[in-house]
């Protein structure tokens, strides 16, 4: 039987704190969603000024990244390159959602919505770095 890392609430709070701090630093108001590797919500923060739509979208981006083990940017770019079939997949193909890899395992995803997509992703990246996670599975060393 192999063992694998899993998010605890303490991890979730580190992620939301770092993501919120990044947003505040840039004067952005966003919704931040943290999902486990099954796509279930484990943490959520909606900053004042972020809209109810942002709340829903952040969750969808985070779930898409967690369950597909890919950034939502990846899906957005595939569609932009012409792969329309992705529109029928259960993912939200809008940049701003990142999976979290720890020791080569996906432990969940972070989704952000409220500013421009690449800025949403910037906030998500700040969040995942707080627990030493990477948005890509690293092979080897």
């Amino acid at each position: 039987m192999r063992t694998r890392p899993a998010l605890t609430l303490a991890d979730v709070k580190k992620i939301t704190s770092a993501a919120e701090a990044e947003a505040i630093r840039n004067k952005w108001n966003v919704a931040i969603a943290i999902l486990d590797d099954g796509g279930h919500l484990v943490g959520f923060v909606r900053m004042d000024g972020a809209t109810p739509a942002n709340a829903d979208i952040a969750v969808q981006k985070g779930r898409s990244a967690a369950m597909s083990r890919r950034s939502t940017r990846n899906w957005e770019e595939r569609i932009a390159a012409g792969r329309m079939a992705v529109l029928k997949m259960p993912v939200l193909p809008v940049t701003g959602g990142l999976p979290m890899f720890v020791e080569g395992e996906c432990v969940g995803g972070v989704g952000v919505s409220g500013v421009q997509s690449h800025e949403d992703e910037q906030i998500a990246q700040a969040g995942i770095e707080a627990i030493g996670a990477s948005a890509e599975r690293r092979t080897g060393a």
């Binding site: 605890t8 609430l9 979730v12 279930h40 484990v42 909606r46 900053m47």
Partner: protein, 159 residues
């Protein structure tokens, strides 16, 4: 002249109904993030004191998510249930237990099942500040009564 008992009862019932209706608070401005975090912290403290694993969801006056945290090892199903209870409390301006009780009464109470999106299970409580409903907190993870206890602890943090 003695007042007939039936008239006394009818007047009392009318007064009680009118009084009860007057008690339902109006909506205030939607809860902000800082307050939502305080409510959740109050609820989490109650859960931890009892060694309960729960999901705590805080929603605004529309029932839209403002803050959520899932304590370690809480059953996965509780995420959506906590959200549903919080939404119910915000959108119906009453604790979700009120719907649970109406349903449990049976007969005409079964109509509660037709209310789309309503979660008729205890654990969702409106958050009231300055006499107005600013949102709600929904809790799920242990028994309904325990969920309700945690939710009330959270809502009780703000006045």
């Amino acid at each position: 002249m003695k007042t007939p008992v039936s008239i006394v009862v009818a007047v009392a019932a009318f007064a009680a109904a009118a009084f009860a209706h007057a008690q339902v608070p109006g909506y205030g401005p939607p809860i902000n993030l800082d307050t939502a975090k305080k409510v959740a912290a109050g609820a989490a403290a109650e859960a931890r004191n009892n060694k309960w694993s729960v999901v705590i969801a805080v929603v605004d006056t529309h029932g839209e998510l403002v803050y959520l945290e899932r304590l370690d090892d809480t059953q996965v199903a509780s995420v959506n249930i906590a959200l549903g209870k919080g939404r119910t409390a915000a959108r119906f301006k009453r604790p979700s237990k009120a719907l649970q009780d109406a349903l449990a009464g049976g007969g005409a109470g079964l109509r509660i099942l037709q209310l789309e999106g309503a979660v008729a299970v205890e654990g969702g409580v409106p958050v009231i500040m300055d006499g107005k409903i600013v949102g709600a907190v929904g809790v799920s993870g242990v028994t309904s009564e325990q969920d309700g206890q945690v939710a009330r602890a959270g809502a009780g943090v703000v006045k």
